[in-house]
C-alpha cells in the first residue's frame, strides 16, 4: 500500500498561503488513492512557480524548459507507456510559451494528464499578465490594463476533441484530488485546469473572489458527455464559475494507435539484426 509518506519531500519555496500548496497536496492524495508507487510516476514540468512542484514530492522528474512541458512528456510516454506521465505547468507555461505544444498535444492525445496551475498571472517573473488574465487587469507592464481576449483552455481543448476536460479549484483539495485521480486514470490526454490564487501578484482573482463564484457541475446534475453543452459551460465565467469534469468521452490514446507499441514498451524492444541485411539489399 502506498501512503502519503512515500511521496513526502523537503521544503518548498512558495509564498506562504499560495494556492500551489493545495495543488501539491491534491496531487499526492490522488496518487496515493490510485496506489501508484513513486517509481511508476514521471512528472514533467516547465518553468515557473508551478514547474517546481515535482521537486516537492518524491517521484521521477523531468523539469525541463519554460513552455516545453508537453513535448518531452510525449516523448517519454512513447518510449515507455508503462510510466504514469503527468505534466505540470503554469498558465504562462502551458498556454503562452507552450501554446503550440498544447494545441498539438490535444491533437495527438497521448495518455498524459496536464495539471495547469492557472493563476492568471506570471508568478515567478513577478506579476506580468498571463494568457488567461482578466481584461482590464493592470500590471507593471500592462499599465493601461490587459486589452487582449483571455485564452480559454477548456474551450480550446473541447474544440480540438480532448476527451477529458476539467477544472479544479485550489481552495477545495478533496474535489481537486478526485479530479486529478480521474484524469490520471483516463486513457488519453486529460486536462485539469486549476484556479490557483496567487496571493502575491493577483489581487483580483483571490480566494474569496473564487469562493463567491465557484460551483461544482456535478451538484447540478450536469451530463459531461454532451460536447456542445460542455462547450457552452466553458463560456460561463463571471458571476458563476463552473468546476468539475466538463467533458468526458471514451478515448484511444496516441500510444495505443502505434502498431509498434503493441509488442510492449519501446524501452524493452530490440530490432532483429537480420533486418539490416534486408535494408542493405534495397541499395543493390
Amino acid at each position: 500500500m502506498v501512503t502519503l509518506d512515500d511521496y513526502k519531500a523537503g521544503d518548498t519555496e512558495w509564498c506562504p498561503g499560495c494556492g500551489n500548496f493545495s495543488i501539491l497536496a491534491a496531487v499526492k492524495k490522488a496518487l496515493v488513492s490510485l496506489d501508484k508507487e513513486p517509481h511508476e510516476v514521471l512528472m514533467v514540468s516547465g518553468i515557473g512557480q508551478s514547474g517546481k512542484l515535482p521537486h516537492y514530492l518524491k517521484c521521477n522528474t523531468f523539469n525541463g524548459l519554460h513552455g516545453r512541458t508537453l513535448p518531452p512528456a510525449t516523448g517519454a510516454k512513447l518510449a515507455n507507456p508503462e510510466l504514469t506521465v503527468i505534466a505540470v505547468g503554469g498558465d504562462g507555461d502551458s498556454y503562452g510559451e507552450g501554446g503550440n505544444h498544447f494545441i498539438h498535444a490535444l491533437r495527438r492525445n497521448p495518455d498524459i494528464t496536464l495539471i495547469a496551475h492557472d493563476n492568471q498571472i506570471y508568478g515567478l517573473t513577478k506579476g506580468q499578465a498571463s494568457p488567461t488574465s482578466e481584461p482590464g487587469m493592470k500590471t507593471k507592464i500592462q499599465t493601461h490594463g490587459v486589452i487582449n481576449t483571455p485564452f480559454n483552455p477548456l474551450a480550446v481543448a473541447i474544440s480540438l476533441g480532448c476527451t477529458f476536460v476539467s477544472r479544479g479549484f485550489a481552495g477545495d483539495i478533496e474535489h481537486l484530488s478526485s479530479l486529478i485521480a480521474e484524469a490520471v486514470e483516463h486513457p488519453g490526454f486529460s486536462l485539469v485546469d486549476i484556479l490557483q490564487p496567487c496571493i502575491s501578484f493577483n489581487k483580483l482573482n483571490t480566494y474569496s473572489w473564487y469562493k463567491e463564484r465557484v460551483y461544482k457541475l456535478e451538484d447540478e446534475g450536469y451530463d459531461p458527455t454532451d460536447r456542445i453543452k460542455a462547450f457552452e459551460k466553458t463560456l460561463e465565467w463571471g458571476e458563476r464559475i463552473p468546476t468539475g469534469v466538463f467533458y468526458k468521452h471514451d478515448s484511444t490514446s496516441f500510444e495505443s494507435k502505434q502498431p509498434v507499441l503493441e509488442k510492449g514498451p519501446l524501452v524493452k524492444q530490440k530490432y532483429d539484426p537480420e533486418e539490416l541485411i534486408d535494408v542493405m539489399k534495397s541499395f543493390m
Partner: protein, 567 residues
C-alpha cells in the same frame, strides 16, 4: 552524363535507373543532383559519372547531355566536350545549335506504350543506344521497379526503352559507339546516398524515436527511417515544430530509448534552447544537422558548410557537445552509429553535420560491414542498481559521467533538471554546487577528446602542400590531390570527420608537421580554419572558400590553387 529537365519530368527516376544498371554491371557510379525549391517546373538536373575505378566527385565535362527542357541546352551545352546532346523535341527551337540531336521522346512513348508517361524510359533507352550498351540488365531492373504495378506496365517500360534504343541506333547516331563499356556484373555492391546512409546508420544503432519537423535537405533521413520503422520497432513522429522535435527526442531519451532529431539550419536555430537542455540534464541525443546556405531561408536546395561555428556555440551557457561530419555515405553510416554510442557514453548531445551535397550524392560501395555494428548503451542494470544503494542521477565523478538509471526502474527515482541542480537532481543555486556541477559537465570533454579520431591523410606523405578539409568535401578534394600527384605535385589532403572536440596533443602534433596548408571549405568565412585557430592555435597558410551554393569539383579546386599560385 547529365540529365536535365523540369521538376516533375522524372529526372530522378532516369538517374536512378541508369545508376543502378551500371552498378549491377560492375561499374563504379557517382551520382549527384541539383534541384530547385519547387515541385513542378524550374530547371533541375541529375549528373552521373560511370567508371571502372571508384569515383567520389562530379566532373565538370560531359560526354552525354540529355535535355528534357530548353534550359538544359542553354545552361549546359558548354559542358559537353565532344560528346552527344540528346534533346526532347520540345526542348529545341530555331536557335538550337546543330550538334543537338532531337528525339521525339513523347511521340515514341505514345506510339509504343500508349502514354507519354513512358517518355522517361524512352530517354533511358536512348542513352543506352548511344553507349551501344546491352539492355538486358536494364530490363531486369525495370521489372523489379515496376513489379508492384503489374506485368503490363513492365512490358510497356521495356518496350519504351527498346524504342528509344532503336531510334538512336538506327538513326542519326548510327555507328558512333565510341564508349567502351564492358559489363562485368558483380554481386554485393550497393549504391547509396548520404541521407539514406544516415538513416541506415540510425536504424543499425537502434534508434527508436525520430521526432522531426521536415526541412530540406534533412527530410530524407526522417523518410528513410519511417519506411523501416515498423520492422525496427521505432516510431517516427512529425513534430509541430523544431522546438517540440528536439524536446520530444530528449523526453524519449530520458525515458530510455535512443532518440534523434533531423533538421537544417533554420530548424536548428529553434532547437538551440533544447540543445542546452540536453547538455544540462545530461540526456543523450543525436541531432542530424544537414546544412544548406543561409542566412534565414537562404537557398533551400543548394549546399554550404556555413553552420559550423553556430553548431559549436549553439545554446546559452557552456555545455559539452560532440560534432561529427561524415565525409561520404559510408562514413555517414558508421559515424551515425558512433554518434549514438558517444551520446550514450558521455550523456551529451552529438551533432551530426551533413549538407545538401552529401544528402543527395550517390556513391558505389562494396557491402557495408555489419559485423562492426555495436550498440553501447551505458545504462545501469537492475542488479547494479540494487548493489548501489542510494542512487544519484548527477553523482560527481572524475570522468564527469554519472551512472545512468531510467525512470520506472524499481527502487530508484530519476530526477533531471534544467535548473542548476545537486547530485540528486534537485534545484540548487548555491555557488559551491554551481562550480562543482559546471566542472563535472565540462570534464566530459577530456574523455571525449581521447575518443576522437585523427583526420585521414590522402595522397603523398610529407607533402609540400596540404589541403585541409572537413565533412562532405572529401571526394572532390581527394580527387584533386590524386590528379595533382599524377602531375608530380607534392600535395596531400588532411581531412577531418571528427570535428569537435579536437585533441590538442594528437591532432596538434599532426598539424604542426604540415608545410604549406590550404583550408578548403564551402563557406565564406573559413569557419573550420577558425576552429583550428581557437582550439589548436594553428594558422592555415591559405584558404579556398566557395559559397555560391554549389559543391566543389576537383577541377574547381585545382583552378583555385593555380590562381593562388600554390601549385
Amino acid at each position: 552524363m547529365k540529365i536535365g529537365g523540369a521538376a516533375g519530368q522524372g529526372i530522378q527516376t532516369i538517374g536512378t535507373v541508369l545508376s543502378k544498371t551500371f552498378l549491377r554491371d560492375g561499374f563504379h557510379v557517382f551520382g549527384s543532383q541539383f534541384y530547385l525549391s519547387r515541385v513542378r517546373g524550374g530547371h533541375n538536373f541529375f549528373q552521373i559519372r560511370v567508371s571502372d575505378h571508384p569515383v567520389q566527385a562530379i566532373k565538370e565535362e560531359l560526354d552525354i547531355l540529355v535535355a528534357l527542357d530548353e534550359a538544359s541546352i542553354t545552361q549546359h551545352l558548354e559542358e559537353v566536350q565532344d560528346g552527344f546532346v540528346v534533346a526532347d523535341e520540345a526542348a529545341v527551337n530555331d536557335t538550337t545549335p546543330e550538334n543537338v540531336i532531337s528525339i521525339p521522346f513523347v511521340d515514341i512513348a505514345k506510339e509504343v506504350s500508349g502514354n507519354k508517361l513512358f517518355s522517361n524510359t524512352v530517354a533511358v533507352g536512348a542513352v543506352f543506344g548511344i553507349l551501344c550498351y546491352d539492355l538486358s540488365c536494364l530490363n531486369t531492373l525495370l521489372s523489379e521497379i515496376f513489379e508492384k504495378k503489374g506485368e503490363e506496365i513492365i512490358e510497356k517500360n521495356i518496350a519504351a526503352a527498346k524504342a528509344g534504343y532503336d531510334y538512336v541506333q538506327d538513326g542519326k547516331f548510327k555507328g558512333v559507339c565510341k564508349f567502351d563499356l564492358t559489363p562485368n556484373p558483380v554481386d554485393g555492391r550497393i549504391l547509396i546516398d548520404g541521407n539514406d546512409a544516415v538513416g541506415f546508420g540510425a536504424l543499425a544503432a537502434g534508434v527508436q524515436l525520430v521526432s522531426s519537423y521536415p526541412m530540406t535537405p534533412s527530410t530524407g533521413v526522417m523518410t528513410f527511417v519511417a519506411k523501416y520503422a515498423d520492422r525496427f520497432n521505432a516510431i517516427v513522429e512529425q513534430a509541430e515544430d523544431e522546438v517540440a522535435a528536439l524536446n520530444m527526442a530528449i523526453g524519449a531519451s530520458f525515458a530510455g530509448v535512443r532518440a534523434m532529431t533531423t533538421t537544417s539550419g533554420g530548424g536548428f536555430c529553434l532547437m538551440t534552447e533544447a540543445l542546452g537542455l540536453a547538455g544540462m540534464t545530461e540526456t543523450p541525443v543525436v541531432v542530424f544537422l544537414s546544412q544548406r546556405p543561409g542566412p534565414a531561408t537562404g537557398l533551400p536546395t543548394m549546399t554550404e558548410q556555413a553552420d559550423l561555428q553556430f553548431a559549436l556555440h549553439a545554446a546559452q551557457g557552456e555545455i559539452p557537445r560532440c560534432i561529427l561530419a561524415p565525409r561520404t555515405p559510408r562514413d555517414a553510416f558508421y559515424q551515425t552509429m558512433r554518434a549514438f554510442n558517444i551520446a550514450d557514453k558521455y550523456q551529451i548531445p552529438v551533432i551530426l553535420m551533413s549538407d545538401q551535397y552529401l544528402a543527395d550524392a550517390l556513391f558505389t560501395y562494396e557491402n557495408f560491414d555489419l559485423s562492426h555494428v555495436t550498440i553501447e548503451r551505458h545504462l545501469l542494470s537492475d542488479r547494479e542498481l540494487k548493489k548501489m544503494g542510494d542512487y544519484r542521477r548527477y553523482e560527481i565523478t572524475d570522468s564527469g559521467i554519472s551512472p545512468r538509471a531510467l525512470p520506472g526502474q524499481a527502487g530508484v527515482l530519476v530526477v533531471a533538471d534544467s535548473d542548476e541542480h545537486n547530485e540528486e537532481g534537485h534545484i540548487d543555486q548555491t555557488i559551491e554546487n554551481r562550480i562543482r556541477m559546471n566542472e563535472k559537465r565540462l570534464r566530459k570533454l577530456d574523455g571525449l577528446k581521447e575518443d576522437m579520431q585523427l583526420p585521414i591523410i590522402h595522397g603523398l606523405e610529407n607533402a609540400d602542400i596540404s589541403l585541409i578539409g572537413w565533412g562532405s568535401t572529401f571526394g572532390p578534394l581527394a580527387e584533386a590531390v590524386d590528379i595533382l600527384n599524377e602531375d608530380e605535385v607534392s600535395i596531400n589532403l588532411v581531412h577531418f570527420s571528427d570535428i569537435y572536440p579536437l585533441h590538442e596533443g594528437d591532432i596538434g602534433l599532426l598539424m604542426d608537421g604540415l608545410n604549406h596548408t590550404v583550408c578548403v571549405e564551402n563557406n565564406a568565412t573559413g569557419q573550420f580554419a577558425q576552429l583550428l585557430r581557437t582550439e589548436l592555435g594553428f594558422e592555415v597558410s591559405d584558404k579556398i572558400l566557395r559559397y555560391d551554393g554549389l559543391p566543389f569539383t576537383p577541377k574547381s579546386i585545382i583552378r583555385e590553387l593555380e590562381e593562388k599560385e600554390v601549385v
